[in-house]
Subunit: 392 residues, 2 copies
C-alpha cells in the first residue's frame, strides 16, 4: 500500500481563491439581483493586444499544413522567445540558455522546489501569495514568516535564524510594495553570506512606476544566489494563455552543483514544453507594435490603480500599494478583522480578498485588485461610500 | 545553505531523447549530405485536423474582444471538455468531475507522484517510457523492473515482493504491446489485494486495432486502485499543443483518504490550468466532423505501421508491435547490442531508438516510430535493405 505524501494535511482545506469563489457564490444565491464588482482575484480585464492575437491566430492556422505545423516544442522553450527575453528584459546580461519558458509563474514557483530536499527552511514574506506557503508545505519544508507591516513600510526584515530558501515577491502581492535597491541589496548580501537561494517572483515588474529595480539581477552578486520567476500573465494579459519564464543563471550554484544543470535534468524528464501558438503570442509582446500596444494597456492599468486609491483615500481610508502594482492594500477601519470587512464590502456588492488569507500579518487589511475599468471602479467606490461601512 | 534534492544524481546525464538528438546531430555534421529519415522520437507528422485548427483559430481571435476574451482557466479544466471526455471516452461511467485536464501525459506521469511520499516501491515495465523511471528516481522512490520479453509475449509478470505503485503503459511504449483483458485483470486483482495504486498510461489507446481494452476501468474493481493518464498528443496530433487528461475516480482511496481530494489540493496550489484555445481545439476532436477527420488520420497511421512492419518482416527481420501502437519493436539480428544496431542504421540514414534506452530488457531491440508518410517509410525500408546491415 502506498505511503501518502504526509504534508498535504498541513494545507488549509481549500485554496484561498477557491474559498472566495465559494463565499461569493453563496452571496449571489442569497441575493441574485445584486451584480457584484469583482476586485478580488487579480485577473486581467482587457482583451489581448492585437499583436498577440494576430500572432496566435497565425500560428494556429499554420498547424493546418504539413510544411508549417509543429511537433513537440523544445522543453526549454523556443529560441525565438528566449532571445527576445534576453535582449529586451535583460539587455543581454542574461543569456537565452539561462531562460526557461514556462507555463506561468504559479506552476514555476512550486516546481522549482523540486530541486531541493524537504530538509530546508523557507522564508516567506508575510503576507504573501499563498502558493509559496502551500508549495513549501506540501514539499515538506519548514516555514518562517517575515512580517511586512505598516510599521516597517512593508519591507521584510532579515530572518533571525538562518534560512535556506527565500521567496521574495517584488512588487509584492498582496501589499503592492516594490522593494527598493537598498532593501533588495540587503537580501542579496544576506543570501550571499548565508549561501541561501532567493526565489524572486517578479510577476508584477511591468507595473513599477517608482525607481525600484525590475530585476534582482540589477543587484551585484544576485546571479550567484537568485532564480527569477516572471510571467506574461499580468504584463501581457496572458492569465488564460499560461506563459512565463524562469531565469537560472549559470553562476547559481550550491557546493559546486549548478542549479541550471539540475533543472535541465528535471525539465527534460517531466515537462513537455509550452505550445508554439502561445510562445508566438508571447514573442509578439517584443515587436515594436506589440510594445506600443502593451505600453498603452499598462498605462491604463496604472491609471486605474491610482484612480481607485485616490477615491478611497478621499473617503478617509488608509490605502497602500497601487503605485508599483495593480493591488491596493486597504487598511480596515478600526482594526475590523479582514474576513468581517470582506463580508461587509461583499454586502455592498464588491468582492475583495481578506488580508488574513495571505498570512497572519495580512490581518487588518483587504486586497483590492484594480484591473476593472474606470467605470467599474467608480461604481465600486460609490457602492463603498453609500451607507456606512462602519465608522471611519 | 539549501540541501539539494539528492535523487537527481540517480538520473543518467541526459534524457534518452536528448542523447539521440546529440548522436544524430554528430552524424549530420560528419555527413552533411545525408538527409536522415527520423523514425526515432514518436512525434506526429501529419498536420492538425481542420476541425481543431478552426476551433483554435476561432478561440485565438475571440481574445481580441472584451466580451469574449478569457481570464484564468479553471485549474481542473473547462466543463465543455470534461463533459465531452466523460461522454465519448467513458460513456459517462466516469463523471466529468473525476477528469482533470492536463498539459499532457509526460507532465502528469511525474506530477501524480507528488501525492505519495518518497518511501514507496514503484514497479515499472522493463522496457518502458523513461519518464516513469526518472520521475520515480528524482522523487526518491525505489524501483523494481518487470521484464517484458519475447518469451513472455511482452506481458509483465506480477512482482515477487509487494510494490506500492505500478506504472502500466498499454498499448506499450516501446514494445507496442497492448495488454489484453486477462493480463489487465491479473494486475487489477493484484492491486486490489495488495492495495497498490496503478498509474495507467493510456496515451496510445487510440491506436488499438485488437480487442484489448482501451481503458483500465473496463476491468471490475479498477476504479478503486487505478489512475488513468491519457493524452491528445498522438491520437489528436497535439504533441505541440500540450493537452491531456487524468482520471482519478472518487473510489480511489488509501486508508480512507481520497486521492482526488489530495490531487485537488495540489492542483489548486500549484497549477494554472490549460489555456482556452488549446482546450477548444481538444473539444473539437469530439464533434462529428472532428471525429471523422481523426478516424481517417488514425487509419492512415495504422496503415503506416502495418506497412513498415510488413516490409521489415519481408526482409527477414523479427518485428513486434505495430498492431495496437505506432511503434515497431525490432529485434536486432544476431543479438547485436541495440546501440550498435542503432549506429548501423543511422549510417544508412534512418534514426531509431536503441531498446536499451528504455531499460535493461530493451537490449537486443530498437524502436521504430511509424508516424512518417508511406513514401518515407518505403524509402527507409529501401535504405535498410541496401547493402548488408549485417548477416540476418
Amino acid at each position: 500500500m502506498p505511503k501518502l505524501n504526509p504534508h498535504f494535511s498541513a494545507l488549509k482545506k481549500s485554496y484561498l481563491f477557491q474559498k472566495i469563489a465559494e463565499k461569493t457564490a453563496a452571496h449571489q444565491k442569497k441575493r441574485p439581483q445584486n451584480s457584484l464588482i469583482n476586485l478580488g482575484i487579480g485577473d486581467i480585464q482587457k482583451p489581448l493586444i492585437p499583436s498577440c492575437v494576430e500572432a496566435m491566430r497565425e500560428a494556429a492556422v499554420s498547424f493546418a499544413k504539413t510544411e508549417t505545423f509543429q511537433g513537440y516544442p523544445p522543453a526549454e522553450g523556443y529560441s525565438f522567445l528566449r532571445n527576445q527575453i534576453a535582449s529586451f528584459e535583460y539587455q543581454k546580461t542574461i543569456s537565452p540558455e539561462e531562460i526557461f519558458i514556462t507555463a506561468g509563474a504559479k506552476n514555476s514557483c512550486v516546481e522549482i522546489l523540486q530541486l531541493f530536499s524537504s530538509e530546508n527552511i523557507v522564508a516567506v514574506q508575510d503576507p504573501s501569495y499563498p502558493v509559496y506557503v502551500n508549495g513549501s508545505l506540501f514539499s515538506g519544508m519548514d516555514l518562517v514568516y517575515q512580517p511586512c507591516l505598516e510599521e516597517n513600510d512593508f519591507i521584510p526584515k532579515l530572518p533571525e535564524k538562518p534560512v535556506d530558501i527565500i521567496y521574495l515577491c517584488s512588487p509584492n502581492n498582496p501589499t503592492g510594495k516594490a522593494l527598493d535597491r537598498k532593501a533588495l541589496k540587503t537580501w542579496v548580501d544576506y543570501a550571499v553570506k548565508q549561501q541561501s537561494i532567493i526565489l524572486f517572483d517578479g510577476a508584477y515588474e511591468g507595473f513599477i512606476t517608482s525607481d525600484a529595480p525590475h530585476s534582482i539581477y540589477s543587484i551585484p552578486g544576485a546571479k550567484k544566489v537568485a532564480i527569477e520567476i516572471r510571467s506574461f500573465s499580468k504584463k501581457g494579459g496572458f492569465t488564460n494563455l499560461r506563459c512565463g519564464y524562469t531565469v537560472i543563471p549559470n553562476e547559481c550554484q550550491i557546493k559546486g552543483v549548478s542549479l541550471i544543470d539540475l533543472w535541465r535534468k528535471r525539465l527534460h524528464s517531466s515537462f513537455g514544453g509550452v505550445s508554439y501558438p502561445i510562445q508566438k503570442a508571447a514573442e509578439a509582446c517584443y515587436f515594436p507594435e506589440g510594445k506600443k500596444e502593451l505600453a498603452l494597456q499598462m498605462e491604463a492599468y496604472q491609471e486605474q490603480a491610482a484612480f481607485l486609491k485616490q477615491k478611497l483615500v478621499a473617503l478617509g481610508y488608509t490605502v497602500f500599494g497601487g503605485i508599483d502594482a495593480p493591488y491596493l492594500w486597504w487598511k480596515t477601519p478600526q482594526r475590523i478583522p479582514s474576513w468581517d470587512f470582506f463580508e461587509q464590502i461583499l454586502e455592498k456588492g464588491v468582492i475583495t480578498i481578506p488580508g488574513e488569507g495571505f498570512g497572519p500579518s495580512g490581518e487588518g487589511f483587504v486586497r483590492l485588485s484594480t484591473f476593472a475599468s474606470i467605470d467599474k471602479l467608480q461604481e465600486a467606490a460609490s457602492r463603498i461610500q453609500k451607507g456606512s461601512l462602519c465608522v471611519i
